[in-house]
Structure formats: C-alpha cells, structure tokens
Symmetry: C2
Subunit: 253 residues, 2 copies
Amino acid sequence: MQDPDSPRGRGAAGVPSADAVVAARGGLSRQRIIDAAVQYIDEHGLRMLTMQRLGAYLGVEGMALYRYVPGREALLDGVVEAVVDELFGDPDVHLEAHAGWVDYLQRLAHGLRRIALAHPEVFPLVATRPPAAPWVRPPLRSLRWIESMLRVMTEAGFSDENAAAVYRAFSSFLLGYLLLEVSGRGVETGPVEEPEVAPVEDLDDYPILERLEPHLSVDVAAQDFEEALEALLDRVALLLPRRRRPARLTEGK
Amino acid sequence: MQDPDSPRGRGAAGVPSADAVVAARGGLSRQRIIDAAVQYIDEHGLRMLTMQRLGAYLGVEGMALYRYVPGREALLDGVVEAVVDELFGDPDVHLEAHAGWVDYLQRLAHGLRRIALAHPEVFPLVATRPPAAPWVRPPLRSLRWIESMLRVMTEAGFSDENAAAVYRAFSSFLLGYLLLEVSGRGVETGPVEEPEVAPVEDLDDYPILERLEPHLSVDVAAQDFEEALEALLDRVALLLPRRRRPARLTEGK
DNA sequence: CGCGAGTTGTTTATGACGTAAACGGCAGGG
DNA sequence: CCCTGCCGTTTACGTCATAAACAACTCGCG
C-alpha cells in the first residue's frame, strides 16, 4: 500500500517478476496482448485467464491491458479472431491456389482442423461467442472465410442457392465436428491437473458399453473425420450439374 | 449488515422477496435446486446464474445451497445431467418401443434436438463440460444413452465395430450440429438485451456474401437438419449386411 | 535548454462473485 | 426439559473485472 520501494510509472517493476514468462521487451500493444492471451490459454486453459494474470504474464500490471483492450470480452473476441485468421497465414492451406472446389474444401477442412487441434482450449470460444454476422446461419466468425468459400463454389458452377446450402452444410459439419473433437481433449480442466484418473466408473450396469469399450476409446478421430468429410463432399457433388462433377473424389491429400 | 429486522434461522425471510419467483414451498433439496437452476438459466442465461441469485430465486440465501450441492461446478454438472435425462422422460421419444434402428435413431435425434432448442442456454454446457466417461469418444454425457444406442444397433445386426463407428458418427453429428444451431440463437447475450441491432457491417468488401445473404439468413435450420440426418442414416445403412438393410429410409417422421 | 501535453503503466477503490466457517433457532428423542 | 443434530443465515476472505486517480517517462515546440 505505501511501499516506498515500489517504483511507480513506466519503468515499472524493475526486474520483471520471474513469472513473467513473456518478458516485456518493448511496450504493449493490442496485438501483443492478444497473442499472449492465445498462448496463455493454450498453456493454462481458458478459465485461468484473468486480466491480472495475463498482465503478469506480460510483465505488467493487469490494468495496463485496459489501455489497449476495452475489456475482457473484447479481448476474447480478439483471441477468437486471431486464431481464426491463422488459417490465412497457413502455407499448407493457401486457399487461393486450389485445384477445384473439392481440393479447396479439403484444404479448408484440414487447415481448420489443424488450428482446432493446435488451440483446443481456444476453439470452444469460436462457437460460443456471438458471431460477427448474426444473421448468417450457421455463424462462422470470419466474413473472409464465408466470402472466399462462396466465391469458389459459385465459380465452380454451383447456383447461388446451392452454394449457400453447401456453405451451411459444410460449416455446420466442420465447426460442429471439430468443436466436439476438441472438447474431448483436456479442455476445461480445473487448476489441478486431472485430480481424478478416471476411476473407471462402475460399468457393470452398461454391459454393451463395456464390451465395445475398445472400439470407442481408440482414438480414431482423424479417421472418422476423413470419412465424414468424404461423405459430405460426395453429397455436395450431387448438387452440381452432372457434367461439371468431378469424377472421383477420393484422391488428393 | 446489522439489520435488526432481518430474521435469523430456519424460518428465514418471512415474506420471500418478490424476486423469489419460485416460492420456497417446503425445504430445499438437491433436485429442487437443480431444477430451479435449469429454469433460471432458461430464463436469464447461463452467465446470470450465480449462487446468490439462484438462492434468491428459491427464496433463500445463496449459501444455503451449499448444504445440498458441493459447489457451483457440481451444480452445473447436475444441470447438464438433468437436461440430458429429460430425453428419457419424453413420451414422444420412448426409445424403448421403436420400429427398427432407423426409427430409433430418428427419435433420438429429434428428441435431442427438441431438448436443445428447449434449453438453448444450457446446451453448450453439455459439450463444454468434462464428460462422465472421458475415454469414450466422442464424449456423450449419459452412459445410459450410449448403452441404449449400442444395444439397439448390435441387435439390429451391426457388428461391434460398426456399432461403435455408428455411435461415433451419429453422436458427433448430433451434438455438433445442435450445439452450433443453438449457439446461433440468443445465447451468451450479456445482461443487456442485444445492445446492438446488427449495424449491418459494411458488407461492401464481401460482394458474394451480400448477394447470397437471403439464402443464408433464411432460417432453414430444421430443413438442413433433416437432410443431414437422412444423409447420415443412408451412410450408416451401408454398414449393414445387404440383406438386413431397410429398403427406403425416407418415410415416417 | 526547458516546459507542457500526451502516453503508458501503476495504485487505489468498488462491487460482485465463490466459498469456508461460525452462528442461531427449530425439532424431536431422551 | 434439555441435548443434539439439522438447516438456513451471517460473517469473512480472497479473487475477479473495472473505473478513476496518479506518477513517470517521451516528445515537440519555444
């Protein structure tokens, strides 16, 4: 409270506390704060992110963040946006140079899945947060995505109506599937690291579940994802005039 | 703080404050608290649920809840469980008396969708919360569901492996789709009722999006759901030995 | 060089929240 | 009638988001 040693003003904490993993080289900025938030959430989970902790993480007092970000909610919006926009920087995706709409959708799907798995703690925010354009259903966060995808589809010969239907089906599948896949991982674990190691609940009441356990606990998420994606693409292809349909889908990547 | 009028002990607040919508007839109980929580979330949204407010809602001080519920997290677990278990009380579902696995899955899907739409604010919890059996992927909350579904599928002639695959695909689709559909609705709105009425962001940068807006903003969720469900069921049917396959899927309900 | 304004981060303060612990009245068995 | 246990209330504490006041540094202008 009246600590005479406590230095004031910009120079701040002299030696940044050892907790400040991200040392405060240079000043703050909206982007630096958001990037740090993403990293912090990846490392410690969403529920551990508080303004003061994020401040400390940046070698700064929590209140300092408010000069660059209007509040916690806005910060989370920024986090979602940042993660979503990673897709466009991904060299493996490169949506612009695609070989047909099938290739495009596959790149999009795999790219987004990579992002979801890279930030499992952040991803639920993408679906939970109120969307930028609430009137678009389902509500993807990035208008750039939507625009890009609609353009590819219409240029590939889909009617406006069908392009929109494809958008709805594809984004539903993609977001829904990934959200669920990610939420199976260690999401939402409290401050303690898994206090319970799965006490193997009394499965005696669920014989079939017990019998099929090996088939269910195997991590076949990637496989399932591919199959569901293929099925969706097959179905989408039927919306196209017969002549322009790609012959076989199951090839690339 | 030291209000002399404030009565103490059991008899409690004398006249339950006008806010106590659910008058405190009879004592508390775990079930009564959880039911009230579901109702409160439905009415005011998840973020408005605090222990003290829920207490007031029940005509009681917030701390009283702790005698029946270990804490807020446990309360939310109870809420999820309660909502999920509604499915078994739904007379329209009646999963036990079904006409084949297609009928069963359709009832399950529609029943769950009805629940999701009835409790849009609660539903995100279902997918966000750590599951009862973390090793089952995807992590459905209710072991009863899983067991019931696996039994129907195996009895219908699916191999163990295929039954598990169907479970994964079906629950992925169902939870993912509904989660997304529900999150489009007024979920996560702050204390204020939609302060922004969609300022119609400058769509000038997104011409195709603008052109297709009518196709996207139409609320075709129900229609899309049916189509995606049909497609999934068609695909599932292919896993069955030819002879036992239902002839046509697209029929009743 | 010097000074006033803007910038940046710190302090302090407030009210809400989750929750531990202590409290007090009522009930029912001895 | 008193003791014991149940049940809801009070009090208390630590943490959170955030507003407001504050101090030190930077820089442009004379």
